[in-house]
Symmetry: none
Subunit: 121 residues, 4 copies
Amino acid sequence: MIMKLDFAGSVPIYQQIRDQIVQAVADGVFLDGDRLPAIRALADEVGINTMTVNKAYQLLKQEGYIITDRRNGAKVQCSGGRKQAVERKVEKELELLAAEAKIAGISGEEFAKLCRKAYDG
Amino acid sequence: MIMKLDFAGSVPIYQQIRDQIVQAVADGVFLDGDRLPAIRALADEVGINTMTVNKAYQLLKQEGYIITDRRNGAKVQCSGGRKQAVERKVEKELELLAAEAKIAGISGEEFAKLCRKAYDG
Amino acid sequence: MIMKLDFAGSVPIYQQIRDQIVQAVADGVFLDGDRLPAIRALADEVGINTMTVNKAYQLLKQEGYIITDRRNGAKVQCSGGRKQAVERKVEKELELLAAEAKIAGISGEEFAKLCRKAYDG
Amino acid sequence: MIMKLDFAGSVPIYQQIRDQIVQAVADGVFLDGDRLPAIRALADEVGINTMTVNKAYQLLKQEGYIITDRRNGAKVQCSGGRKQAVERKVEKELELLAAEAKIAGISGEEFAKLCRKAYDG
DNA sequence: GTGGTCTAGACCACC
DNA sequence: GTGGTCTAGACCACA
């Protein structure tokens, strides 16, 4: 589990952790049911406080990406059911991205290509 | 110029203003060279501090979306040149969105459709 | 004896076991004097540690719901005497539930109906 | 704003704060739109850490009981919409309470009376 | 002024 | 071993 954190930027660390774990799940690094690193272990590894990692895990749990089994720590849970909510979120964020792209002179085709690349990896 | 601000959410007000102006430019509400509303007028209209609007305008200026002229206020400037930078930014954000979509069970086709809709409006 | 355990939630396993046994007693699944499943048997059945079941049983014993006999295991004991204590506990918890219900727009009648349903089954 | 906290018990402090604020809202101590005490002020008043109060507020926000307006701090928000969810929660908790009451020898009438008292205050 | 984030430690409950 | 909670500070972003 490699983690690239930007301590200078304005994005909270816990958010960066959350994002990268979501990425990892989407990329198949973690499969449904896999155990995530223990909070302390991950905190030590990347050199941050356990509370920060804890917050990231809580966020992931709340969003339904993981469940924390009291016996085994945190496990990935890919069960759907969030499709609608995610769709709305994606829709809204895409709108802004598309606007910025349009102004920057990125054509519809180029934008579609970027989207495809992002999805297919 | 209608502005919908969410004072509760986690997105800063100035960021919301910036986003909506970018949207408006992309949608053709403002054309290249058009004058943006005066800071004080906009602040009064939506009932916020002028400092907040000022910060949004400074952000837009810094990003190259507008130029400020002491005599005429802020004017939209659609000159290109930022294509590469925007492309990198869009690429990065798309990656996360695509990941979330993938996990939620949104197919590549559905995602592409959302992207097209976002771009074409 | 069916046991539905939620390993993800915040309620401790032993508490869930305790709750479900109390439910079963109230529902007449276990009558006064009936033997509860042996600790090890129950632990095996639901796939948890015997220590956890043991803790649940100790809690039940301490609350006066069961008595443990070295030779015969745990037996249900419906002897009263706890009425006052339970009343106080119920009173306090009802207060919070009623508050949440009130805020959510649940009327007094609806709340009473829910209460009746809970009691009559 | 009086707060009675039990530091010895097993109920987390942030949960106790959350509960008492919900109670206060239901009792009309706080009306829709009223400002809650500032996190620091409340923390100082009851002699606990700001993080703990913060967690309580986050929980309330997440449950929809309050909104945090960036300009003014936390405000009560009684807008409904949570009726169904609360109903399910109340239903489930009532079931256990009713079971305990039944075993303790509390009659259906007595239980109904307790419920009425809890709701009407 | 407000809330949001983070640290470096600590203790506890659970299993 | 795990996650959950809490402390006593600190700094920052926002308005």
